[in-house]
Amino acid sequence: MTPAPEPTLNPTLKPTPGQTVGPFFGFALPYEQGPELVTAGVAGAIRLYGTIRDGAGTPIPDALLEIWQPDADGNIIERPGSLQRDGWTFTGFGRAATARDGSYNFTTIEPGPTAAGAAPFIALTFFARGLLDCLFTRIYLPDHPALQNDPLLTALPPDRRQSMIAIRDDHGLRFDVCLQGEAETVWLAFA
């Protein structure tokens, strides 16, 4: 597996701009088993779930989330089969739409660190009606010793750090998204 090259400093072509996913993606983008990176109940399977809220605290029923993550050992699995899962191959990719109450659910495993000493996290891309372009963030695992050394987290004001760290409970991991307000999720721009 070869990682993508670093972004060029002087790109010759201008990027195509994004646009909102709109309200009517529900018949096109979500797919059967999209949220199931692994089968529920297998060893190591966890629930990754949460609620998406707008600036008034109202749950958002028309949002879409995608995750991309390494396996439990930190290996990046670049294999097809995310759209047509065989039930055995972990591909690292998942897609989930929010339900009427603004909640989403994935079944996955906890990612491992991709390098020694690195803080493990799940990469998240977020789409919604009303959001004019997609947003990126990370879902860090709670209580991991490497969190203290993570360059992104340590550069954040302490009151914003928590928005990128999942909460562990009896089922797995909870990660809520707030688009505005005190608990506004930190979104990333990639240099």
């Binding site: 790109p11 990027p15 909102t20 996913v21 591909t91 990469a123 997609c134 979104w187 240099a191």
Partner: protein
């Protein structure tokens, strides 16, 4: 769709929305390479845009890679939206094709391209789309394909119709096809909309006009290509897509630095 009198009083007028579009087009933010996320003329964005600056991050290894899709995931017939049912869909049959490349012009190969759209009458096959236009029993409006070795995608479909929505009084979306693309890195993920040349509805549309630089917005407009049109069969449109993971800029000064 006919709105009730009370709704018409509540909804802003096109004149009001057009005034807001004009003010923002002339504002200092003009020229940024992406849509403004805080764009009040698109009323649904009011409570759904980040209010704090995006944080700059160096992509980690997982973010410099991307999910892989392959033949296993896609059936070849999914690229032809006109053969998914027993009958012929209504409307202008067309081919939409183009190349997906990176910032250096290199083809982005073997990548998943997903599209979805309204039918020729401007109606989505979605139970929340209840506007007064017919559903076409022979058109779902969903397609998928993988880019080839030259980064090319190719769909056969029906030209979508414009449709009304309730952002403001007499609000109509220009005809468009939604596109979803992956890249070589997760940070290149792109969902966007392809528009058609010389669409008279574009200036009135706050979703497209959220891209305040006309040169940037022009990158979302396909070009009619007569060499793609096929006799007795369909018209042809070409639209190329550039994926680049460094496509974001901060929306405001980073006031929350520690």
């Amino acid at each position: 769709m006919s709105a009730s009198p009370s709704q018409q009083r509540i909804l802003p007028s096109q004149q009001q929305i057009s005034r807001e579009i004009g003010e923002l087009a002339a504002a200092p933010a003009r020229g940024v390479p992406q849509p403004l996320l805080d764009y009040p003329p698109y009323r649904s964005s009011l409570l759904r845009h980040p209010t704090k600056a995006l944080r700059h991050a160096v992509p980690e290894l997982i973010e410099r890679t991307a999910p892989v899709f392959g033949e296993r995931d896609i059936d070849a017939v999914e690229a032809d939206l006109t053969i998914q049912h027993s009958g012929e869909p209504l409307g202008e049959r067309m081919v939409v094709t183009g190349r997906v490349v990176d910032a250096d012009g290199r083809p982005v190969r073997g990548q998943l391209v997903e599209i979805w759209q309204a039918n020729a009458a401007g109606r989505y096959l979605h139970n929340h789309d209840q506007h007064h236009a017919p559903i076409d029993p022979n058109f779902t409006g969903v397609g998928r394909c993988l880019t080839d070795d030259d980064g090319q995608y190719r769909f056969i479909t029906i030209k979508p119709g414009p449709y009304p929505w309730r952002n403001h009084d007499n609000a109509w979306r220009p005809a468009h096809i939604h596109f979803s693309l992956f890249g070589r890195a997760f940070t290149e993920r792109l969902v966007t909309q392809m528009y058609f040349p010389a669409d008279p509805l574009m200036p009135y549309d706050p979703i497209s006009q959220s891209i305040t630089d006309p040169a940037v917005l022009a990158r979302l407009i396909a070009r009619y290509d007569h060499t793609l049109s096929m006799p007795e069969t369909m018209t042809g449109y070409r639209w190329d897509i550039v994926l680049s993971g460094s496509r974001r800029t901060a929306m405001e000064p980073e006031e929350d630095q520690p």
